[in-house]
Amino acid sequence: MNAIASMDRRSFLVGSTAGVFSLGFAIPFARAQGAAGAVREINAWVVIHPDDKVVIRIARSEMGQGTLTGLAQLVAEELECDWSKVSTEFPTPGQNVARNRVWRNFSTGGSRGIRESHEYVRQGGAAARMMLVAAAAKRWGVAEAECTAANSVVTHGASGRKLGFGALAADAATMEPPKEIRLKDVKDWKVAGKGVKRLDTAPKVDGTLVYGIDLRFPGMLTATIRDCPVQGGKLKSFDAAKVEKMPGVRKVVAVDGTGVAVIADGYWQAHKALEALPVEWDMGPGGKTSSATIDAMLTEGLTAENVFIGTKIGDAKAAIAGAAKVVEAVYSYPYQNHATMEPMNATAVWTADRCEVWCPTQNGEAALAAAAEAAELPVAKCDVHKAFLGGGFGRRGRSDYVRQAVLIAKQMPGTPVKLIWSREEDMMHCAFHPVTKCKMTGAFDAAGKLVGLHMRISGQSILASLAPQGLQNGMDPVVFQGLNGGGAEGQFGYDVPNLLVDHAMRNTHILAGFWRGVNLNHNAIYVESFMDELARAAGEDPLAFRRKYLKPKHRAVLDAACERAGYGKAAPGIFHGVAQIMGFGSYVAACAEVSVKDGKLKIHRIVAATDPGTVVNPAQIERQVAGSFVYGLSAALYGECTVKDGAIEQTNFDTYPVLHMDEMPKVEAVLVPSGGFWGGVGEPTIGVAAPAVLNAIYAATGKRIRSLPLSKHDLRSA
């Protein structure tokens, strides 16, 4: 039987075949019409079951950051439903297209999941509540204004009559959606703003949650791929005959002219055959590149004339020329891989008439577009079903693995094929954290006041790699994260009368991508390490020096971290380092406590303060903050991908080490929401992880580390 013919969601996902799992999105959506007592869609965001169960639709992806729970809290708050009855489901990108993008943006990156959609998801919850209230009022023949909703029950105040949401859902679904919606004041929140537990934990502790890599369909085959080790290179030839007879092997196929995949009964068989497969590559022009040639190119950019100007206030060059004292330092930041715990994977079924994909993705709509293009079918004949992600960190915003899965499945029409990348493939093929170098120049006047600052960034542009349509006259504005002259996204924290931030764009054949924290990561290291250097040059305490120039909100968040940490009162042998930055719409700061003994670094404790404006779930923010230090310190201590003959040299966690439990400092999160805005929390804290620790290391040893990772530096005293 043609597998695709049976591919309605029930038979494929809820199917009873042993070992075939159901996913959260498996139950077909209920529509407003239908028999009484059925499950009712009140609107795109809210579905209510006769037993009062509430299903909240979540358009954004869940990759561990907790957005699913936070968004559900916001909808539930306005819906006035019983939180204990809430579950969630993901609409598919295809449904979004078919329904005129009723769920708007699916893209989940840039810490935007909540801050970009809080208003319309709350409106969705509020509209549903108003329709439930209207249905009750109509049934009782009373005015809507006399009825209130709370805890999944509508009550008529005067008569004390009550009706549950489940009993009202069928009528509510037929009500006109309200034209005017007033959202609750944050101070009246009961579910939102509270540190409620995540909604998705139970299946994560007993192995039942189905990640993309876990999908199993009847008749499914498994493929694994090797793409050209050098990005931009091509597949020349392969000798399929050498492996075709190996056990379980079904087919060896070329993919997109750049890679080759083995399709087999299971992963191990595919993997063994791919290992044994003779392949010849045309490495292309990138094959001559190495870390040394890249470094030379970036160094040239540090003094280049032709640059993009990101931020210009006053005349920094003149201020430097006329300064009483000039301080200069050059820093650098390496390539890094996201290294999500779950390697890239996608499962696809293709026929000449339809293509469906199941995959972990941070951008469902982009995945759908990629699938349709690879399938050579109209979007309306394709769909993508989002699975939970085993980590995202920006990596899964790209759809390269989706395209590959479809191109492979196309060579096995009608058969579901799951593509799984080996860790080695995953390590060598992503859009990496961009490499940059930075020259910082600071100018003091005769009175010792900081009067000028020039920040020259030389290095890669993510937009040039992944989204050149986003360049503005060739300039990549994302380069200046945290360095903007103003604005709500990430402004430079210090008031310096003459400030120049410019960028010499230097791209390589290696793709640069969005890597959790993005450009804020290195920008924060450059700014905050150099502020420390300036403070030392001025003979001042690093905190006191910063406080003189910091803008109020930046200063408040740094003060909050330092106060809790007991800055300046460290025990003997323990040293403090601080850093602050603004990014993704939030203000963050950290105070790190370290000691260095016989060259061995120990990070004892980090206090991190965050002002995200509005807090939707403090418990989950604390976890994002702690997790940000693991991610940021992994990068600072160990994270480096080097390039040899055009290829990335690190292939697994043995050559690309990350932070382990025994190195984890105690992280204390201090939340200081100042209200009136919505900032992201999944990423900004990563920016302060490295510089706070680097500055503490300087305090402990007098050694200024200007390049990462730390593991290649000797911290023993000279």
Binding site: D214, A339, D654, M661
Partner: protein, 149 residues
């Protein structure tokens, strides 16, 4: 043909004896709770117990299991009653993406079986699993909580 005892049940799997236990569990037997993360015994995502001892199943040929009794994350609960480590994981809201957590939980359960009251140093030594989301702080707290439970 490999004859395996997994979570108290006998399973026959006709696979190449060199196949790592991980892929027999996941692909042949459909027990996907045990995860693939690195394939070279570095990350711990694939941790299962063999006779109560934590083992990285990605690097263990199925032929080496012998008579050993295998426990996977699917079999950690006792007749539907969650293991106290699983319970502590829920109470402490430990998982983020959750992908590493099967392995974390198996490693933690083995630690508690050996040392009912582990110190922080015991935890550091036993818990060498990688978590990229960075749940280490919650993992530590949950192990201590489970020890007290």
């Amino acid at each position: 043909m490999a004859v395996l005892t997994i979570n108290g049940k006998r399973h026959d799997a006709s696979v190449d004896p060199e196949t790592p236990l991980l892929w027999v569990l996941r692909d042949t037997l459909g027990m996907t709770g045990t995860k693939y993360g690195c394939g070279i015994a570095q990350c711990g995502a694939c941790t299962v117990h063999i006779d109560g001892v934590p083992v990285r199943s990605c690097s263990l040929p199925v032929s080496a299991v012998g008579e050993g009794k295998i426990t996977t994350i699917e079999g950690l609960a006792d007749n539907g009653k969650l293991h106290k480590i699983q319970q502590a994981w829920i109470e402490n809201d430990v998982p983020q993406c959750g992908y590493c957590q099967s392995g974390m939980i198996m490693a933690a359960a083995a630690l508690l079986a050996e040392k009912p009251n582990p110190t922080d140093t015991d935890i550091d030594e036993a818990m060498t699993n990688i978590c990229r989301c960075g749940t280490y702080q919650q993992v530590r707290a949950a192990i201590h909580a489970a020890a007290k439970a």
